[in-house]
Assembly symmetry: D2
Homo-oligomer: 342 residues x 4
């Protein structure tokens, strides 16, 4: 059988490890042939593909990004998208698709598989860790590690000047990176999209930290919002922040802290460094195992399923179920982290 | 209540994170007081202790090792050990002990708790990841990360000279570090204590890798043994390896590969760097959560229990059960890694 | 003799290494006693000091920041600043000051020493590497290393989406960090304050890189300015950038590239992570040697001098000379880097 | 003109950066063509070469090792070696050779150039930093960084168990890596080949450190020798150490310390990890500049010369002069480091 592979959505450390595992095991154990579709769903939509054999995947395990390219193209929003994909698969004699992506990319795979009979197996991918049905997604551990190392560094600069440092990390809809890196980095406050924050409470934590003769670090997810959001919007400042990545809620908060506490505050927005570069050992391990189990599912004809991590086991779940709702931060986990606020 | 804390056995990144979490939550939420016993079980045995308040645990989260010191002292093998520990706890008015350690240290805690009524709560610790009843132990992720980074580096030197590089990692009885770092590092063979290896098979993998114009990396746990171990012992060489840490099975294997394949082979023994230094973000997260849940168990009087990771949840299990058998590498996981051999 | 030590200006990895070296050698070899003044010139101005013996400096070598705190207080702009400093030194029986700082802090030391006879020895400090008379300052190598690692990571995310990544690094008046990290990170354009950049030229480099099927990385110092700066100011956008750290010239450039080339562009502002955390081995080496040589100068009564690196030797130069002009990027070095643009 | 490039001797981070710089500037600025000879001098000896254009050198800047392979083949010890190299250059129409290597490889280039008129330009390469005429060689900073990070990690494990840790680093004939990493890592003793060490003195330093309630780290170069070497040799143990890399002088010293002080001591031999993997930013910078200046020398026909670093400038020196003597550790630098022993 010939199998197509594609990677969609934002790039994520570990994508290449998945591709390598699929091709290695599929070729060696099952005699599959592979082609790689380029730039996510754009590939099969336009028939843009490259051959994908073992030589092509040598050496890619430690490399970030994806050798297949990525895009946010959505065939369900494209004229005759499904028909063109079917025609493409037929033309390239592709009998199954392995779709590696996040909520949007997998959502397409679920519908293609369930409604249109296109044989898809899904591999979950998001550095945000907000996909249901899997304990973790690859890329997340790498992102948390990078953010934690940055927070470690910021502690010493904060201490030297006894100023507040606000660190804005990724996470528009879920605060997993903020929660994990904040806890691992010894943050004195962690603010996540799941619960609107009270600036006065943040200032109280800041003051408490200064009283202990230490300088506070506040970790905030880019999607976190203050309780008094309306007021903020009224003066126009958050409005412009809404679409300007680099002067977001972190910078807004730093100014609020300065004006309310009289202490200097600075902001660091970690940005894209969180999603690039070599994957952590954990993410290489998880991505590789996802790849191996995905090609097993293809071999067994178990389509419409997605691989997922449960404890230390890789299981299969319906793609549709996995993408049906966002996995947000569990309040009890947030309460654990809150033991260290202030 | 006054609570005693001790850390026993080999040091491990994350120990300080556990101590900090116990003291922070215990002080703030439950009003406990804390003392730290020094050097594992030697502390309560000899009444050697230090006060342990929130100021003492500030800033220790990212620091490797243990501020309390460690030892392998076993009170059950000491004259009147149990009596002396009881007397010590009584004298210091300590109503509960949190015991952070591996198989040996926790084994003592299990017996003290179950047989002698000393109120202990356990926290599992081993970089080897070989404790039953928990998905992972803290320190393991850090060790795997360090080993993986070393393997990444060794690939380029192997390629430049087209020689074999044998990397010996920790793991006397279980091959978890070898398995995870070998898979994450793209090793061409992984040899673990759980299955005796066949040198000819290793040489076949080495040859296969050279045929693909790449240089092979062989990752071997320090406790791995060849199938033809008897022959080895007969010529005396492995005998001396048995107690000389630095010329162990890795070096023996490199020489065998050289003599059987005619290719140059070199050995690197990673040694103690695997267990020192700042913990990874994952290990800080796990260690912190273990600490928080351990002090909850103390507060609830749930003694004789150990905290453990199951999926993303922290649960409690009887200490005795957790230390009753070694967690060795699951054969199916080893087979997954074997997809990349050769 | 009792010697005072202070650290002024922005924090910088290696400050603690200097302090440790001064105290170790001064105590052991010369029998000096030490006190540390807190927060730069504020310390002697207000008589705020701490004892500084060998125990106080143990373990601080690898730690970023400064155990003495820092500030930008300028005694020459303070009522009777010089008098108060003299009184303070007399009261604490301090016979010499070691002043660790950048242009401003050392500028004060030069005048205090040359005009008012306060016995000062200087140690140059700036992550920006823009102090004359020394080949390098400590902190710079650490900052370049952090920026380079970030650029390495950004390459993979740029490639995966075939978009432009603009990386804004520190450097208001000199482009050293941009130059070194850009060259080491394989940037396709490097923009520095020393020469106004031509956006069309940048777009040409970007286009050239895309033609080679790679995604471009543009490294820009925060103080770099476009040639057509007037036009920029006219629409008001750069005006607000002037004092808002996080939406600076990097973001402005990304938008210009997007609108002129039609390619997606993203910005990452590295910010304070460049100046925090553990110093690189090179910086620990340089800072330690600066400290050793500074205390030698104190011992010899060679005041008004600053230690400096020339090749592999540490020399002494008049503080006044060293701070008289900014060391900007040598045009021939910039031309070297330009071999890799596009 | 067609230019040949080769890399000889042990691999070293930065080799690829040199190659890339040569090819980029040579092609773009001078219109040169390039071929790469494989495996050092074996390449031209056997005519084994690959085409080397800009596409071949894209992306190699951050990669350790050498894309051209390396060997220790010496044409001057090969039958008609010079004649075969001349024939090879003639056949491939190569008008100049850029030779990147250490003492041996460059020694050949010097004689080929000076005695036989083969037009060579040299680029110095050794992680050991022991080549005369240049302040530093690339690869050295990377090696020092790796060793320093390892020492950082070992401190925490030493402290936790209050044991001595002996760290053996590279350096058979010169102690540069030991000196720099030992000083940067806060070692309590540094032992180098340039001066025979006194075990009792080492034990005194160890004891002094324990008295301060800290655990000692001893950094030793693999080529360091004890003063009482004869006694050592008499019992045969050092003899076998001479050619067994992994049970070298470090392990011997640890045993001596244990038996003389009664304290536990452990050894870590860093080995090949010091020479593999991605180069540091400094090494990429230096290697790139060496490459740019080497191709300038080729263009100017300035043969028999080697590029070298002096302060921040790249200069040219006769190859023969540069390789005529080993650059050993300056005693005054060693004395600087000795301020921190004990």
């Amino acid at each position: 059988m010939r199998v197509g592979v594609l990677t969609g959505g934002g790039d994520c450390p570990g994508l290449n490890a998945v591709i390598r595992a699929i091709v290695r095991k599929g070729t060696q154990s099952y005699g599959h042939e592979f082609i790689g579709y380029r730039d996510g769903w754009r590939g099969p939509l336009e028939g843009d593909h490259v051959p994908l054999g073992i030589p092509a995947v040598r050496g890619i395990l430690p490399r970030g990004g994806t050798i297949l390219g990525s895009s946010r193209t959505n065939p369900l929003k494209t004229a005759d998208g499904v028909g063109r994909i079917r025609a493409s698969l037929a033309e390239q004699e592709v009998g199954a698709l392995v779709v590696i992506g996040g909520e949007d990319t997998l959502g397409v795979a679920a519908r293609l598989s369930d409604e249109y009979g296109v044989p898809c197996v899904g591999v979950p991918k998001t550095i945000d860790n907000d996909l249901s049905a899997t304990d973790y997604t690859f890329g997340f551990d790498t992102a948390v590690g990078i953010a934690t190392e940055a927070i470690d560094r910021l502690h010493t600069t904060a201490e030297s000047h006894m100023r507040v440092l606000v660190v804005e990390v990724m996470g528009r809809h879920a605060g997993w990176i903020a929660l994990h890196s904040g806890l691992a980095g010894g943050a004195n406050a962690i603010l996540i999209p799941e619960r609107r924050f009270d600036v006065d409470q943040v200032c109280a934590w800041v003051a408490s930290r200064f009283r202990a003769s230490y300088a506070p670090i506040v970790v905030i997810a880019e999607g976190a919002m203050p309780k008094d959001g309306d007021l903020v919007l009224k003066d126009g400042s958050l409005d412009s922040f809404g679409h300007v990545r680099l002067s977001g809620v972190g910078e807004w908060l730093a100014k609020e802290i300065e004006s309310r506490t009289g202490k200097e505050a600075r902001t660091t927005v970690l940005g894209h460094v969180q999603r690039g570069g070599t994957p952590s050992a954990f993410d290489r391990w998880l991505a590789t195992r996802f790849g191996l189990h995905a090609i097993d599912a293809v071999h067994e004809g178990d389509f419409g399923k997605m691989v997922a991590l449960r404890g230390t086991a890789i299981v299969r779940v319906p793609i549709a179920e996995a993408t049906s709702r966002l996995k947000t931060v569990d309040p009890t986990l947030y309460e654990e982290a809150a033991n260290f606020f202030g």
